[in-house]
């Protein structure tokens, strides 16, 4: 699977991102300011459920912002070039893998600032970070495909939100539940089945995205 086409594409994604440092810096500022605004508004959060819910709402908006640009940035000329040179499976996989890596790092950064500004209530940190890792990968998988769909339609960001919010809902619910378990420090044997569902969702999303992208690709 990891032949030259795919690795080349992933490398290209990173190169483009790091060449335009302003977008990456923009995302970081976005994260810090969102967390800071919520810290100022909430002052002190005592209720773990509210703490968790606020975190996931912030997380949701950051993922949508980060992933939506993955296809919306593609111009018509670029799309034609990619169509001629790459295999669609490699193309979508490169986007998904790149978004997954980026989102995993960004989610840890968000969590860091969130626990710094708003306070940390997590008892089982390992489980929380594991939950964060797998939800960010699943989120970016869904959002990469949705971004591809939205870019083929009228290319606006509100359509992207309309399409992805209902589809993301099962993912959010599982993540919120699992992370709440981690906050309360509940035994791994209990929360394991949610982690398993999250992993299965990751697999489903990636498989579906790679199969379906073939049909989005042609124009």
């Amino acid at each position: 699977m990891f032949n030259s086409g795919l690795s080349h594409l992933i490398k290209k994604e990173f190169l483009i991102e790091f060449r335009q440092k302003s977008t990456l810096a923009g995302i970081l500022v976005y994260i810090i300011s969102t967390v800071f605004v919520s810290a100022l508004c909430f002052k002190k959060i005592i209720n773990p459920t509210v703490w968790n819910a606020l975190f996931w709402v912030i997380f949701l908006f950051i993922t949508i912002n980060v992933s939506s640009k993955s296809f919306l940035q593609e111009t018509k000329g670029k799309a034609l070039f990619n169509y001629m040179y790459y295999h669609p499976r490699h193309f979508i996989l490169s986007k998904i893998i790149y978004n997954m890596l980026l989102m995993a790092v960004l989610s840890f950064i968000t969590f860091f600032f969130y626990s710094w500004f708003v306070g940390n209530m997590v008892q089982d940190l390992g489980m929380y970070l594991l939950c964060l890792l797998f939800s960010s990968t699943a989120f970016s998988g869904v959002l990469s495909l949705m971004s591809a769909i939205a870019s083929k339609a009228s290319n606006n960001i509100s359509l992207m939100a309309i399409l992805s919010f209902p589809v993301l809902m099962p993912l959010i619910l599982v993540s919120v539940k699992l992370s709440k378990f981690a906050i309360d420090g509940i035994a791994w044997s209990v929360s394991f089945k949610y982690l398993f569902v999250l992993l299965m969702l990751n697999l489903t999303v990636i498989t579906l995205a790679t199969i379906l992208f073939n049909y989005l690709w042609k124009d």
Binding site: I149, M169, L216
Partner: protein
């Protein structure tokens, strides 16, 4: 040319309406007479899910064969499914008011699942309306349809089994299959399921023929 299954569907629904109110039902706490809702509420949801399934089936067919007829059918089936969600929701709300004491609750995964299903299909129609080119619309809508259907099924099939639900049959609540669903209930429930599914197919057929006529009119 009247097909036999249309008559069968109408007769079955007529039978469930008449006999559903007549036959004897098990006496259960809280549920009491509202248990008869299982003849109307549940089959309507089955019909809705059936139509969503039909919609996905034609979406897959559209992607593999690339013909616009499947796309029209897929679109129409989604519309019929969404239409069936309205009586499904209304009968559910009425039943909930008399048993749970509230019209709607966010505590129940099945109710949330329904709300999400409605949102998903509304998003599907918005996506359709935002693409002008017919062939492109057919392809992209089919992709979203398949993806959304899978996620919706995760929501309504898998998640409720993980958490507690207020719904009968979930999380320690009285299960229909165990003891309430006695043979009296079954004689009405199964015909009702078949009847409503046939009825939804009939509506789909009429809607499809109307769309074809409209398309023909536009071409002339």
């Amino acid at each position: 040319m009247i097909k036999w299954w249309k008559i069968l569907g109408a007769l079955l629904i007529l039978y469930t309406i008449v006999w559903g109110l007549q036959n004897s039902v098990p006496r259960l706490d809280i549920l009491n007479e509202t248990i008869r809702n299982v003849y109307y509420h549940v089959p309507i949801w089955f019909a809705m899910l059936f139509q969503m399934g039909v919609s996905v089936w034609f979406a897959i067919k559209q992607l593999s064969k690339n013909d616009l007829k499947s796309d029209t059918l897929s679109d129409q089936a989604a519309q019929v499914g969404l239409f069936f969600s309205i009586p499904g929701l209304l009968t559910g709300c009425m039943w909930a008011k008399f048993t749970w004491g509230t019209w709607w609750t966010f505590e129940d995964p099945k109710l949330n699942g329904v709300a999400i299903a409605v949102l998903i299909y509304l998003a599907y129609f918005i996506l359709r309306s935002s693409i002008a080119d017919e062939l492109k619309r057919a392809r992209i809508a089919a992709v979203y349809n398949i993806f959304a259907f899978v996620m919706m099924n995760v929501f309504i099939m898998i998640l409720p089994r993980l958490t507690d639900s207020l719904h009968p049959g979930n999380g320690g609540n009285a299960k229909f299959a165990q003891y309430d669903m006695d043979s009296n209930l079954r004689t009405v429930f199964y015909p009702a399921v078949i009847g409503w599914i046939l009825m939804s197919l009939w509506i789909l057929e009429i809607k499809y023929r109307m769309t074809l006529l409209k398309q023909k009119q536009n071409e002339d």
